[in-house]
Amino acid sequence: MTVLLAVVDPLSGIGTMLSQPFIRNAFIASTAIALIAGLAGYFLVLRGQVFTGDALGHVAFTGALAALLFGIDLRAGLFAATVAVALLLGSLGSRGRADDVVIGSVFAWVLGLGVLFLSLFTTSGGSGNGAAGIRVLFGSIFGLDGGQAWTAVVIAAATLVVLLGIARPLLFASVDEAVATARGVPVRVLGYIFLGLVGVTAAEATQAVGALLVLGLLAAPAGAAQRLTARPYRAMALSASFALLSVWAGLTISYAVGSWPPSFSILAVATAIYVAALTWSILTTAPAWPLRDRMRARGGRAGGPNEA
């Protein structure tokens, strides 16, 4: 019915869609989340820390289930867990960056804890509680109420302000750590602040697409943007735009095709954008290398076997 309407008259179809409160809340929250995920994701990809985003998504799962189990506010558990582990991962590596084996080790255990909490929570309250675990893993963007949506906006706005505030020095520190350090940029502190912001972003995004799929919003739009341009601010804007496009299109698709979960549709669009960007950059054969590798090549320090 709604699908037919939308096909016949797209504008009134979108109007009908947005007149429904649960859709409006979903759009408000996911717009805020997409903006910060796109921007934080850009730096995550630039710094080669995507695995940290993966880990923090899983940490969000454990934090949320711990909150459910102990009966405290779910968001308190989410934010506390992701920010704490983000800072821990920063402290385990040199210059605020952890080695991926350290990350893997910490988060395998955190996930094990999550499984314990899930098992305790499920056995303590029957099948309704089992569904709660799935909601945390895969998101429930259509289940947000107005208050939750606007809270997401406020937190995202604060995150955005801090991230844009440190964008310039963070960019410098990410592209050439050694030179940035020599010029007096507080590389280590910036690394910590950035990881804290990624923790907040992961907790925010968990509410939209779920703990397991946070990674996609962080990696896919940013990866696509870096494929298309090597200029940092343009890439940031592109990354945020791709993330926005993914959530808007994804929500609309799931609204039209009721059996598709919104988190899947959002990721499907994000992945399609990445594939399109990849194809485009291969066809136009412009060597759109990510900035960091270009700088590295220019500096004569081989980054790995690929540059050989």
Binding site: V50, G104, L111, G112, L137, V209, L213, R292, D293
Partner: protein, 293 residues
């Protein structure tokens, strides 16, 4: 079950009690096979710093299994199909390779998130109950049949045989790709072969144990051994021993206290890792030579 198993001070009786039920015997057999396979593949994974790819290959078994359920085919096709597909994507991504490591990680992340999203779609479409989805993700050691164990063993022998064949050049290529390439070692082909081995081995093990446990067994024992010694032979032995011990003790603990096996195994393995970390920090005399870079 008429009498729940009770832990006593009589260790011999406790251990004998573990073998009272066929499901527990098969769980121990399957756990042993999975532990050895994961330890050996994981040792190379840690050496090559490919934990992210390993984690992703471990979780693509979820969409694989749920797709198979949706289509009504045997889960094994789904597991292997998705794992091989993901491994091929990584292989192509690394082969093209002008983007370097940052681009590679963006691709891996996208593949993982899309795969999990697709898995969720398949679960939603097939109206499977939520406990089914959680079993796919987190696994369970219950209900492993004799034929499961035989299939697992056959797959393990095959993958470990291939790993043994490529072990020496793979080791060389992992430690110093540039020199290995200069000496004529097919570094890129080996990278592809390794992704495929990692994918097939994790797919096979995930069917039994779920993706969480296999990832923990891939990364933690090898990461622990890496902190304890820089000698490859010793390191491999330590990795396998830790993997076996944590799996056996984890299974025994789950048998007695009913908490999930995934929690026990990850906690024990992480405990060993933390001990090794502290040990390494204490013995700062000779810093362990970075084995990969």
């Amino acid at each position: 079950m008429s009498a729940a198993p009770q832990i006593t001070w009589n260790v011999v009786a406790d251990i004998r009690q573990l073998f009272d039920y066929p499901f527990m015997v098969n769980a121990l057999r399957a756990g042993t096979i999975v532990a050895v396979v994961a330890a050996l593949i994981g040792w190379f994974m840690v050496l090559r710093r490919e934990a992210f790819a390993g984690h992703t290959l471990a979780v693509v078994s979820f969409p694989g299994a749920s797709a198979a359920i949706l289509l009504g085919i045997a889960p094994a096709y789904g597991y292997f199909g998705f794992a091989v597909l993901a491994a091929m994507v990584f292989a192509v991504a690394t082969l093209r390779g002008n983007g370097g490591r940052t681009e590679e990680s963006a691709i891996i992340g996208t593949v993982q998130a899309f795969a999990l999203g697709a898995g969720f779609l398949f679960v939603s479409l097939s109206h499977e109950n939520v406990t089914g989805a959680q079993a796919l993700l987190f696994g369970s050691f219950l209900g492993i049949s004799n034929s499961d164990v035989i299939v697992l063993l056959a797959g393990a022998v095959a993958t470990m045989g291939i790993l043994a064949l490529v072990a020496r050049p793979l080791f060389f290529a992992s430690i110093d790709p540039d020199v290995a390439a200069a000496r004529g070692v097919p570094v890129r082909v080996l990278a592809v072969v390794f992704f495929l081995l990692l994918g097939v081995a994790t797919a096979e093990a995930s069917q039994i144990t779920g993706s969480l446990l296999i990832f923990a067994l891939l990364v933690l024992p090898a990461a622990t051994a890496e902190r304890l010694t820089a000698r490859p032979g010793v390191s491999i032995v330590i990795t396998v021993v830790i993997a076996l011990l944590v799996t056996w003790i984890g299974l025994a603990l789950s048998y007695y206290n009913n908490y999930p096996i995934g929690f026990h195994v990850t906690s024990l393995a992480f405990g060993a890792y933390v001990l090794a970390y502290v040990f390494q920090a204490a013995a700062r005399r000779v810093p362990v030579a970075g084995m990969a870079r």
